[in-house]
Subunit: 296 residues, 2 copies
């Protein structure tokens, strides 16, 4: 058997197009484009690439990109001051502070300083709490992207057995909340789990987010399962995921490649979150089900 | 085999005594006792009993109990006004609004109006978010009580297989977060789960919180497992839990009775949370591990 390869690049392009299609109506209603402010501190090469890509995608969607580049000597106080100004700026709907920040900066203080209603990364504790209690909020981009990929295979997720591998604040834990919201039965396995593979072997849906190249072997995957690989690990042989892709794609029913799977969805969901934040701030109504591409 | 019966009443009394033992030092440091404000709206008989019991337990622990009883005609605006005054009152460390509120009141607005640092029920989205992201906050009393009961049987919870039955905001979801924080492998099963018993049968720890009398049969329990029964269901034959206690206690290794298991822990944890909130507000240090009775 050979798995369906979930084409994250194409699915992300469709999502970006659906987001972009909403911008003219927003502009008509408000007289301005949605605005995303991205803050980059220091000279980390990978971060600089991410920020450049985010800026380009923002402009391509018809939104305004505001970029702030600060030296790696920036203090926590200076960053908090900038965040405060962006919170107060009516033209800014979304604020993204590119992580990681230099070690001398109090990252948690910066995250908590962002207005939760402009927190398009969804990392503020208020948004984590809204997600945990079933309220509307802004959801972290990567796990949201995973849900949208899953829906292309499973229009209805309710009742499916899902295993999340990893328990980070950025992926694993919000992923588990989102799957639970979709009425999956959810198990979170992690470094202290006795037999992670025994759990994975029972799962209809596996989301791997541990950051260990090839951690999930084909033998741990239930035939026909859907496998979402969040890992992006740099190795001597190039970028690889947390799943042994070549072997797993002979067992799974559907699987995301690395690269070209979850990665492109993260930026697309950032644009989607910026549009959502802008619409909520301005009281403009959105048809989220259509934007997210829910099954009819 | 006959299970160890987990004596929640005795364990709660010990917790209350450890909390009470900290009050004199707090009083010496601050010149006042920790204060818990309880707000009761309307004439619900069960709520009145809860509020009376909370007031008595608060005073017995040497803390100040402030009770506000309002008619069932109270509006959301009036309640928000009261909460605002309690937030501003320096003698109030904890605020508990007894639920359920009358149908005409916007319960969510009231919950979100409470200062998160005085939210001893732990229901505010900020506290849910702190729990979800591993920050210090105030944790809902019932799941916290379950963790403290579990620790009397398992001084170290890491690596144990835990199944939470139910996904409410008040018990199931925060319970799953707390078990994950303790490094258990956590599965949440619920009404849409295909085969909840298959999951429960694998679990070292079962926390049942569905509100269905006897939902978990003995046949679904792994021999030797620890079973925490959060259910308190009124039936013709009296109060019963979500677990078939008589039969399950022949299979489980340890089990909580209903009543006398989780119930008494909830009020004890409310006092514990009030002390924690008071100490944080006043900058008084506490040895939480000792108060919570952690294994040496």
């Amino acid at each position: 058997m050979s798995a369906t390869i979930i084409n994250g690049k194409a699915i992300a392009a469709e999502l970006r197009a659906r987001v972009a299609a909403q911008v003219p109506a927003f502009r008509d209603a408000t007289g301005r484009a949605p605005g995303l402010a991205v803050v980059l501190v220091g000279e980390d090469a990978a971060s600089a690439v991410y920020v450049r890509n985010k800026g380009r995608a923002t402009r391509e969607a018809g939104m305004e990109s505001i970029e702030h580049r600060l030296p790696d000597t920036t203090t926590t106080a200076e960053l908090l001051d900038l965040v405060g100004r962006l919170n107060a700026d009516p033209a800014v709907d979304g604020i993204l502070v590119q992580l990681p920040l230099p070690a001398a900066v109090d990252t948690q203080a910066v995250i908590e300083a962002i207005d939760p209603d402009k927190d398009v990364d969804g990392f503020h504790p208020v948004n984590a709490g809204r997600l945990a209690t079933g309220l509307d909020g802004l959801v972290p981009c990567t796990p949201l992207g995973c849900i949208l990929l899953l829906r292309t295979i499973h229009p209805h997720l309710a009742g499916l057995e899902a295993v999340v591998v990893g328990r980070s604040n950025i992926v694993g834990k919000p992923m588990a909340q989102l799957l639970l919201r979709e009425s999956c039965t959810v198990t979170v396995v992690h470094s202290r789990t006795r037999d992670a593979f025994a759990h994975i072997r029972q799962a209809d849906i596996v989301v791997a987010a541990v950051g260990i190249p090839g951690f999930v072997p084909a033998a741990a995957i239930k035939p026909g399962a859907t496998v979402i690989d969040v890992g992006i690990n740099r190795t001597d042989t190039g970028l690889v995921g947390d799943v042994d892709f070549a072997a797993a794609s002979e067992v799974a029913g559907a699987i995301t490649p690395v690269p070209g799977g979850v990665g492109p969805m993260t930026i697309a969901c950032l644009l989607r979150n910026t549009l959502v934040a802008a619409a909520r701030r301005e009281g403009v109504s959105l048809d989220l089900a259509t934007i997210d591409g829910a099954a009819a």
